[in-house]
Symmetry: C2
Subunit: 450 residues, 2 copies
């Protein structure tokens, strides 16, 4: 079933475009899903993509536009007139339409909205644009099927036949009172099973999950995943039904959030994508690297302050990268598990218990690793006992302290309202590097006395 | 709307259980969603959890069981008889039922399946258990609404009223031919809008996305996310309709996959959770730490082999953690972006172009960082020029090589069918540490000649 984009297909298409064989191209794309056409367009030269957008009918191109990569869509929209964009927008659901108009400059937004034939859609888009990013309001669509509690099943079916044509997918039918306040829901299935003279109020479910229009999108994702919901109605502060969010948009929120956390842990300062330009990628990578360099500088100073050891115990310096690396790895492990626990709301119990648990893990890991290190160092590198003890004791201390830091930095960040995922990656590695080296040489000084 | 578990609530509940006030407890949970009750049970003592499972009716407890954390469910199932488990299973959808039975020992599986009253469900469960893990077959449910293409809308509505009662959510109605082969689909909405004397074949959509029963679950997640599907039918190799997968199960696949990648990058060798025991957590952390220790050992040997520099250029050794850290950070960035590109199928273009892109990024990052490092080293630490040049040149080389390694290891792993996420984290950091130090001292030897 998946449509595969081959080089042959692309070459053939480019040739058809060059020869302006519009009929052949239309036929070629006839049975291809818009998400696949969007992928083809992402691969084509920009002029070729524009050619195809202008060629296909707006019912298809409106869907393609919503699926394109952001930078390519931006360029295409720049090459369309306000009227042409309005034609595309007119075919979209209100949430997709608002997303795309939101990418335009304010001045172009006005012109496109004015050019829309559909006044209701124009009003919906204006409303959706007014909500803050990453809230239920910005995510929801205005299209939904709504019935009044006083209606009968038969009357309801008649009205739904009208409303449903506008709504791509009917998950639930929302039941409202005279003031448009959400009072219940029923599924199409319930309606089909019911007798035609029953009242809606009698067959609808009273308890209906809903979210407020200001709710954060990640919170909505958690709620929908937890309760296995496929759509959730959105209400304003007076409980008036204003829109609905469907699971396909939430799937995107979940994927974006996972990507963001992963990139943050890997040391990117902003959202990037493998096909971004070298300049964009470098801009995203450099800030954390500069921070790491700065941290590295501190570690240079720390090492410099222990240069008295150089004379009698030069071997100590051979171990600094090992100690620093272990501190970094342990810290990242500890913080990653906390970041995930925070993300899944599964972090429970007191801070003290958490601390104890980390120290015990640190001890367990530390003893195993220190024993390995000490025996290997003494057997293969011929270390004297006091040096072996120093390195082993340092390793255990460093691992325990790195665990504690890795655990508490994300917890503290989360308490202050900062994304805890910021803690993993370069931040933890760098601070643990420095601290690890400091602890290591302090213990060495204590044991060996230089 | 979200139900919050407070300490007061838990204390109150424990007291009611101790006093065996079953009526009050039943009332307490009356309007609470089963996913919330599962969270309460995760918090309670084990005996208390068993008490509640035995108290509430199986319609509710069957749902609670599917939502519980694995280890707690395992313990509860151990304390229920085969007949009691069969009663719970009897209330579940076939996919949930098979998942839970699959956790039992083979011998208990047989006893529970024999104890089921519902022969159709028993057969369905046996079939679902026969598919390999992480395939469409293991993920799908047998419950679906199916109609024959020759039926009329009116006849179809009658039959659906019967079938739909069994199916929790009707997304699509699947149209099959006489041999039960999938030939189309229609939505409930289409059915409601249609006239009652129309033929199903006339209103159904011919092109229907489906997946084969052997398809990998991550592949299905990609397909459903790409095409915004809420359910997808599953067919066997003869295109006979055998089940369907719904988006809520796919949401779990996406979340699990993201968690797995994140943990792999953080250096866990198996799936862990913040509330796991110290022993389980240590077992998951130790393997990568031992690998990192082994890598650290190699870096010790590399440094030891350059001990000739100790006499004239001791400062060189102060920079080893800095160089190693930069190599590690750059490597993780490079591999993370490739891992994501591979996961999203967005990695295109030739390997040569990819290499060039990485080298250019490395040069850009490298020059900025080397300039910072050199000026800071010479200004604040009073380095002579030749030392400054050595460290700066090494940093640039190390960054470029770390980028290349970070880029190509995940690509090579993916080509060999190994999860590329394995590359990020300790593996890349450790190998880049060693290589970074080696490059650094080799360049130093060349420039300074010790």
């Amino acid at each position: 079933m998946p449509f595969e984009i081959s080089d042959d297909f692309l070459d053939n298409l480019s040739e058809l475009i060059a020869k302006d064989q519009s009929k052949e191209i239309t036929t070629l794309f006839e049975d291809v899903h818009f998400a696949d056409i969007a992928e083809v367009l992402d691969e084509l030269d920009f002029d070729e993509a524009i050619y195809i957008i202008k060629l296909l009918d707006s019912e298809k191109t409106s869907e393609i536009l919503t699926e394109l990569e952001d930078d390519i869509r931006e360029k295409i929209l720049e090459n369309l007139s306000a009227k042409e964009i309005a034609n595309e927008i007119g075919e979209m659901d209100s949430d997709d339409a608002a997303d795309i108009i939101g990418e335009l400059s304010v001045e172009r937004q006005d012109r496109v909205i004015k050019a829309l034939n559909d006044e209701e859609l124009a009003a919906d888009i204006k409303e959706l644009l007014s909500y803050e990013e990453n809230t239920a309001g910005a995510l929801m669509a205005k299209e939904l099927v709504k019935v009044y509690e006083t209606w009968t099943v038969a009357g309801c079916m008649r009205r739904i036949r009208g409303q449903a044509k506008e709504v791509t997918r009917v998950h639930s039918i929302y039941v409202v009172d005279k003031q448009d306040k959400l009072v219940g829901r029923l599924s199409l299935k319930d309606l089909i099973i019911a007798k035609s003279d029953q009242k809606i109020a009698d067959i609808s479910k009273d308890s209906v999950d809903s979210v407020n229009v200001d709710e954060d999108d990640e919170e909505i994702a958690k709620i929908m995943a937890k309760y296995d919901l496929e759509a959730i109605p959105v209400v304003d502060k007076n409980n008036v039904l204003v829109g609905r969010i469907t699971i396909d948009d939430i799937v995107d929120v979940i994927r974006d959030e996972a990507d963001k956390d992963y990139q943050m842990a890997a040391g990117f300062s902003k959202d990037v994508e493998v096909n971004d330009t070298i300049w964009e990628l470098t801009k995203a990578r450099l800030p954390w690297l500069i921070l790491a360099l700065f941290g590295g500088f501190i570690s240079v100073s720390v090492l410099g302050s222990f240069d008295g050891a150089m004379k009698n115990y030069p071997e100590l310096f051979f171990f600094t990268p090992l100690i620093a690396a272990m501190a970094g790895n342990v810290g990242v492990q500890s913080s990653a598990i906390i970041v995930q626990g925070l993300a899944n709301d599964s972090l429970r119990g007191s801070l003290f218990k958490r601390l104890l648990k980390e120290i015990l893990q640190g001890l367990l890991n530390g003893f195993v690793l220190a024993a390995l290190l000490m025996s290997a160092g003494m057997l293969f590198l011929g270390f004297p006992l006091n040096l072996g003890v120093t390195v082993a004791a340092s390793l255990i201390s460093v691992i325990i302290i790195a665990s504690i830091i890795g655990t508490f930095i994300p917890i503290i960040l989360a308490k202050r309202g900062i994304d805890p995922a910021l803690a993993t990656g370069p931040f933890i590695t760098t601070s643990n590097d420095i601290l690890g080296i400091l602890i290591y040489f302090s213990i060495a000084q204590l044991v060996l006395g230089f």
